[in-house]
């Protein structure tokens, strides 16, 4: 599913110093896997996620996701890739405040091809995450956990094979966070590839593989047999 080779990413910090956040990093993730990337703040976890999701293409090396080589793709092709191949879940949910839960889930449909059953599909996804009854509510009238579930439903709208999660339980209390993690487990069991960057123990416990990002490189920290987690083969 993910194949990254010798990826190097640098940026200039506030005082003009060049910082190398990923240094010849390589990563392979099989389809249907559940991977947690851990590491301290500022270690480049989010940057890695953005590279894999086609939000940032300013890097050296090769990144291939779902058979698509991201480097050199035109903006329109990258946008199509993000619309159909990956789903993002963010720590701060990033729901659009003046749209209802249903409209937030429908957001990807505005940038993809016209489909007759878009609303039905969005409603089904909200049902799937347990929010069918609250589809017309604005985000402000939803709890943190509910907002994150709406964000997950939105990430799933395009039928992606890869879910990229950036500290998905970072803004949630323990109980709510556990509920969201349980949802990721279920999605993983259904065959979705999940890659989450996190610094939370409970999230990494849920994952089959745990990788640590250290000095710009990924180090395998733990790998569990798939059968233990019940993931798709």
């Amino acid at each position: 599913m993910i194949h990254a080779r010798d990826v190097t990413k640098e940026y200039l910090d506030g005082d003009g110093t060049r910082v190398r956040v990923l240094d010849s990093m390589s990563l392979d993730v099989e389809a249907g896997d559940f991977v947690a990337v851990v590491g301290p703040s500022g270690s480049g976890k989010s940057t890695l996620l953005h590279l894999l999701g086609g939000l940032d293409v300013d890097y050296r090396g090769e990144v291939k996701v779902g058979g698509v080589t991201l480097g050199g793709l035109k903006d329109k092709d990258l946008a199509r890739f993000r619309n159909t191949h990956v789903g993002f879940v963010f720590q701060s949910f990033h729901l659009i405040p003046n749209l209802s839960a249903l409209e937030n889930v429908l957001l990807p449909s505005y940038f993809g091809p016209r489909t007759a059953d878009a609303v039905k599909r969005a409603e089904a996804l909200l049902e799937r995450v347990g929010l069918g009854a609250k589809k017309d509510r604005a985000p402000v009238r939803l709890s943190g956990g509910e907002r994150q579930r709406v964000a997950i439903a939105r990430a799933l709208y395009g039928g992606p094979r890869l879910l990229l999660c950036d500290e998905p339980t970072g803004n949630l209390d323990a109980n709510t966070g556990d509920g969201v993690i349980q949802l990721f487990r279920e999605l993983h069991r259904e065959g979705l590839t999940v890659l989450a960057v996190t610094h939370e123990e409970r999230m990494s416990v849920a994952a089959r593989r745990v990788l640590r990002l250290k000095e710009g490189k990924l180090v395998e920290e733990r790998a569990t047999e798939r059968s233990v987690l019940g993931g798709a083969p």
Binding site: D75, A79, H94, I96, Y110
Partner: protein, 427 residues
């Protein structure tokens, strides 16, 4: 990006930013409204000048003999039959209409009923003979031709003279208002070869004839009466004055573009062009155009300010919505999609502002016309409407609103499209 999706996103965005959108549209409406209003006023007043005060046909050239001409000493520069034939044969001439003034003095003395009142009046009269073809279509009674000895002479009066009579002469003297239709058939006596001003100007015994108004014409002599050319020639001949050379010839060009060359050819013949009225029309028109342009410039400045206002408002909005834009990019929006959303939001604001501004300008013009009709004195050539709004002006107003808004949105839309989702969505 699909149009229905774009429309949906724009609607949602504008619904959220109603206040900002209202003020942006208000600015556009102000600029467009004042521009449309002043252009409509300029066009309306210009139309009155062209069509009522100084009616001019762009194809017509009035030729007169030179006031001083060496050619006249040598037999050139005068408008006799031969000169008229030469004028008629010039390239680009469709028709040549001869004119001849009655070259003896004339007076009228009227003492009788005048449209429901009694009128007693005596005044000098100028008379000019024209070919019937020049005033074809203006005659409402009988034929405009020499009736022969002892018959009433058909007379055309100037529509502008009628306007001056109605607006200044008649009210001061409590005389009735007259329309062109009303005066048709009205008869009054004219005594040729007689003058109240100078007895010496008469060349023989005076002759009294009856005249009858057969219509009103833009091409009739302004301060006098217009009679058939043959009648004028006959009166001159009978009075023993020049009945062979013409006072003027009106040439009709096949096309307005032929007029400059025609003017040059006429001047080369030692003749002159009587373009006094045309020049007055042009000068007055230019003054109106200048005033309109100054006011239009002011309006365009308002439009520019509206565009700047939109640019500021959108820039702030784009900054505030950076995360939202990042989310859209994350779920599949391309840079061109983002640009299209911002431009479309602004286009809706501009179209609304343009349409409202144009509508308000049209309403304001109705208000001004009603005010003018009710409160302004009834001066000569006062029009029913001071405005003219041809469809390109109305459409142009709406389009200008759109363009101003799009111009204002240009840089903010580029900034929005350049949003780095990785940066805005981090954390």
């Amino acid at each position: 990006m699909r149009l229905d999706a774009l429309s949906r996103l724009v609607r949602l965005s504008l619904a959220r930013e109603r206040r900002g959108a209202f003020f942006s549209a208000f600015g556009v409406a102000m600029g467009v409204g004042t521009l449309v209003f002043f252009i409509g006023l300029g066009l309306g007043v210009g139309q009155v000048i062209r069509e009522k005060i100084f009616p001019n046909d762009a194809r017509m050239v009035d030729v007169v003999p030179a006031a001083v001409s060496l050619g006249s000493l040598l037999g050139g520069g005068k408008l006799d039959a031969e000169a008229v034939e030469r004028l008629r044969s010039l390239p680009g001439v469709e028709a040549a209409h001869r004119k001849m003034n009655v070259r003896v003095p004339a007076v009228t003395r009227y003492d009788g009923a005048f449209f429901g009142t009694k009128l007693r009046m005596g005044m000098e009269v100028l008379a000019m003979g024209v070919e019937p073809s020049l005033v074809k279509g203006d005659t409402q009674m009988g034929e405009f031709k020499d009736p022969g000895e002892g018959q009433p002479i058909p007379v055309l009066v100037s529509t502008r003279l009628l306007e001056l009579y109605n607006k200044t002469f008649a009210p001061a003297r409590k005389l009735p208002q007259l329309s062109a239709n009303m005066i048709v058939g009205f008869g009054f006596p004219v005594e040729f070869n007689r003058s109240y001003v100078s007895a010496n100007s008469a060349t023989g015994p005076s002759r009294s004839v009856q005249t009858q108004v057969v219509g009103a014409s833009d091409r009739a002599m302004f301060a006098g009466i217009t009679i058939p050319l043959e009648t004028a020639m006959r009166i001159n001949r009978e009075a023993g004055v020049d009945a062979d050379t013409f006072t003027g010839v009106t040439l009709v060009a096949t096309d307005p573009s032929k007029v400059p060359a025609l003017v040059d050819a006429v001047k080369a013949m030692g003749l002159e062009i009587d373009d006094q009225e045309r020049r007055m029309a042009e000068n007055t028109g230019a003054a109106v155009a200048l005033t309109t342009s100054a006011l239009a410039l002011l309006s365009i400045l308002i439009c520019i300010l509206a565009a700047v206002n939109i640019a500021h408002a959108l820039s702030a909005s784009v900054r505030a919505r950076a995360k939202e834009i990042g989310v859209m990019q994350a779920v599949g929006a391309s840079r061109s999609d983002i640009r299209a959303i911002v431009l479309a939001e602004s286009a809706v604001v501009g179209l609304a502002g343009g349409a409202i501004g144009t509508g308000v300008a049209l309403l304001a013009s109705l208000g001004v016309n009603r005010f003018a009709a009710g409160y302004l004195p009834n001066f000569p050539f006062k029009p029913d409407s001071f405005f003219s709004f041809p469809w390109p002006v109305v459409l142009g107003g709406v389009v200008l609103g759109l363009l101003a808004a799009l111009a204002g949105a240009y840089f903010p839309s580029r900034r929005a499209a350049a949003t780095d989702p990785a940066r805005t969505l981090a954390g």
